[in-house]
Amino acid sequence: MNWVLDFYNYRIVEQYLGRFAEGLENTLIAAAVSLGAAVILGTMLALCRMSSRAILWRPAAGYAAFILATPLLVQIYLIYYGLPALIPAAGRWSELTLGIIALSLHNAAYMGEIVRGGIASVPRGQIEGGKAVGMSYLQRLRYIVLPQAFANTLPPLLGQTAVLIKDTSLLSIIAVFDFLSAGLLLNSERVRPNESFLTIALGYLAIYVVMLSLSWAVKRWLAGPAWNVGA
């Protein structure tokens, strides 16, 4: 058993379990809040994107292009250092808050693309049918487009959520105490890279496995196994 302890001393990890749990909590909070915000912002972005008015779709398209073509790390820095310069009160917000804002703004662009794809997948005849029975724009959105778009959106949305959870690890760079930071703390106090980084890797893998099973379950729930086989 000695060689196991030499390579991976789980007793050290046990001592840090509390810190790992604390970090995991922040990671999950950051992921959950920015997921919710990104879906709402992304839906609005998608609706602007699909509008025929240039004043709506041009800024939305420009925003999406900026987010998609620059690194998330630079966007996090821009929000973390830049937002307090624009809004003085933001200087007193916690790193976690600023990190969540950055992640939300980043993922809104990706969610927007996904929602747009979902809406575009609803056949035109459905919308025309809604118009024919005298539904307003909002009614068509609420009763015809969004429910169908939702089903087409959910699988890629779960995929993007898995990416979002992984991306929260970048918040450790702006001193948010997330799951990765707990491992960095262990490494800096005990100088045991194996125990810290392999534990983190395993933790993220566990989250990934949960997300993967969730997405399989959702695919089955949405259309039943027969539809998946037929495709």
Binding site: A69, Y81, S169, L180, F197, Y208
Partner: protein
């Protein structure tokens, strides 16, 4: 010196002085941004090349459904996709040298290059396999009927068709790789983001401006590739061979 006094004054005076100040800052950080961009460009290019070769081989092997190898490489891909790139980078940078094996005593450059290439390979492998799978079965059967063996069929019949399908998602991955080079700054690779951080030490009041300039450089590099991806998607017929994430 001149920049410092201007920086102090720009808070009070506005207009022309501020513009002049930003011009001064821009001129003095431009050499840093250029060095950083060249570094980012080379790292991304080398990692894309090495990662694509590795990923291509894995993808081809996986498409043949060789019993044990298929699952083994499947695990490899899942592990790389299930962990953040930052964690992979730390593992290659901290854990590998800790094994005590001579060959794994990597410099930060080597760790950065290896981790980025391995990360790239996991995405490329999935794309190549999906593209090979997307070539109709009839192509295999017809080639077999003509008396070709497995390798000639792959090389002469299937791969030429598959690679065309792989172009749009591959360029999407390349954008991803270019953006991920920014993360290499945390282990001290002097690429674009790191050079920006160094510039900020000289002009601490212009953080927002300097990060904005860095973002602009990344945008100029990535956006054409992104447009190419869209164009190629339309050209190939809108078939997204694989869902990227």
């Amino acid at each position: 010196m001149g920049g410092q006094t201007l920086a102090r004054r720009s808070g009070v005076e506005r207009g022309g002085v501020a513009v002049q100040h930003y011009l001064d800052v821009m001129v003095s950080i431009l050499p840093f941004l250029w060095t950083g961009f060249v570094q980012t460009f080379w790292i991304s290019l080398v990692a894309i090349a090495a990662g694509s070769v590795l990923g291509f081989l894995i993808g081809v092997v996986r498409s043949q459904r060789v019993p044990l190898l298929h699952q083994l490489f499947g695990l490899y891909i899942h592990v790389l996709r299930g962990t953040p790139f930052l964690v992979q980078l730390y593992v290659f940078y901290f854990v590998m040298p800790n094994t005590g094996i001579e060959v794994l005593q990597w410099s930060s450059e080597t760790a950065a290059f290896v981790s980025l290439s391995v990360y790239t390979s996991s995405y490329v492998a999935e794309i190549v396999m999906a593209a090979i799978d997307a070539v109709p079965k009839g192509q295999w059967e017809a080639a077999t009927a003509l008396g070709l063996r497995r390798l000639p069929i792959l090389g002469l019949v299937v791969l030429p068709q598959a690679l065309k399908l792989a172009v749009p998602p591959m360029s999407g991955v390349y954008v991803n790789i270019i953006k991920n080079t920014a993360i290499l700054s945390v282990i001290g690779i002097s690429e674009l983001t790191r050079q920006g951080e160094i510039s900020i030490m000289r002009f601490p009041r212009d953080v927002l401006f300097i990060y904005g300039a860095i973002a602009l450089v990344y945008f100029v590099y990535c956006y054409p590739v992104l447009r190419f991806t869209r164009w190629a998607e339309r050209k190939v017929g809108g078939t997204r061979v694989v869902n990227l994430d």
